[in-house]
Subunit: 196 residues, 2 copies
Amino acid sequence: MNDGDEGAGQEPRPKRADARRNEETLLNAAATVFLTSGVEAPVRDIAAEAGVGMGTIYRHFPTRADLIIAVYRHQVERLAESGPALLETSATPHAALGEWIDLFVDFLVTKHGLAGVLQSDNAGFETLHAYFLDRLVPVCTQLLDAAAESGEIRSDLQAYELMRGVGNLCIGADSDSLYDARRLVELLVAGLRQPR
Amino acid sequence: MNDGDEGAGQEPRPKRADARRNEETLLNAAATVFLTSGVEAPVRDIAAEAGVGMGTIYRHFPTRADLIIAVYRHQVERLAESGPALLETSATPHAALGEWIDLFVDFLVTKHGLAGVLQSDNAGFETLHAYFLDRLVPVCTQLLDAAAESGEIRSDLQAYELMRGVGNLCIGADSDSLYDARRLVELLVAGLRQPR
DNA sequence: TGGGCAAGCGGAGCCTCGCTCCGGAAACGA
DNA sequence: TCGTTTCCGGAGCGAGGCTCCGCTTGCCCA
């Protein structure tokens, strides 16, 4: 509720034009740099790519987490919205859960290093962690509950744990390499099935 | 074979007394610091704890990976040896696999941050990665093969992938928190069962 | 249109951390 | 005791995160 994107309470101030322009520029630059150098790229690089000073980055996005959130917000929102939709269109709730998790894995795997940073216990990423949790755990809970109710899976696992497990499995899975995170996640989800 | 611990080929030189003493001191200091600050603790801290200069650390252990390996070598060896033993004493190969993986998880979870560093793609940790792989993957393969032969589990998963998955699941699981890596690993192993 | 001023900008600079390098100290053999 | 060789310590460099403050610029009002 209150996803105040630009109007929190009473309009504080209209924000200057150059500031808005810079924010836009920064978002694009960050997206570019994240793509090539990963989400842990040096702040200086992002500033350089955007052609602004570092102060500007820190003013708009006090922590790296804020920047990452801003860059990927759209995709996360779409992921969150797809949960209920899948529940409608899929054959069974368990299938819906599986497909949704697939989308989640796709998202993480294509964002170089995001999974790692998400689980990192380094200070400064709690915001990021919290955002993902706030946005996605409820969706996952809904899918999980539906599947549990239909008796397809065991019901003793929290959505938080499942998502964190999936996130962990995606660490270091950059579409190359001998490590296929999707396989492992499949196994994990398979392990959820009721052992009837 | 040739686990040359101190005699590689022809004895090169007897090594000075103070050097040996320092190595011992460093190992203890590192163990202590790893325990309190995790395996990514600043090198300076370890040097301080040991009461030596940083040069001394780097001379004995050129990379952090070397130091970590030295500190945990004993435990890893014991883990490796326990594989065949479990195969003897356990009810079924799949049970043996499960128990061995439990030991692996215990090891990772009690070493603050080790799992994270193991999967990290930062340069400098390949040695560590390689050591764990060399030492443990064959053991895991043996257990996996035995379980596959007995028809208990699917046979399309490499030991490497399994271990990496387990390692990933252990990231950030520091015995506290709402995240119980053991549970997730159990699920993963359960997912391995033949879906007959 | 022009003047005043807060919002905004940029990057020098400080801090931490990894790692190197070399002058000096200490051990060992004769 | 002395020479040689090994070993030690920490100053110092580069990289990266983050801050701070003097300068610039958009905006509003007369």
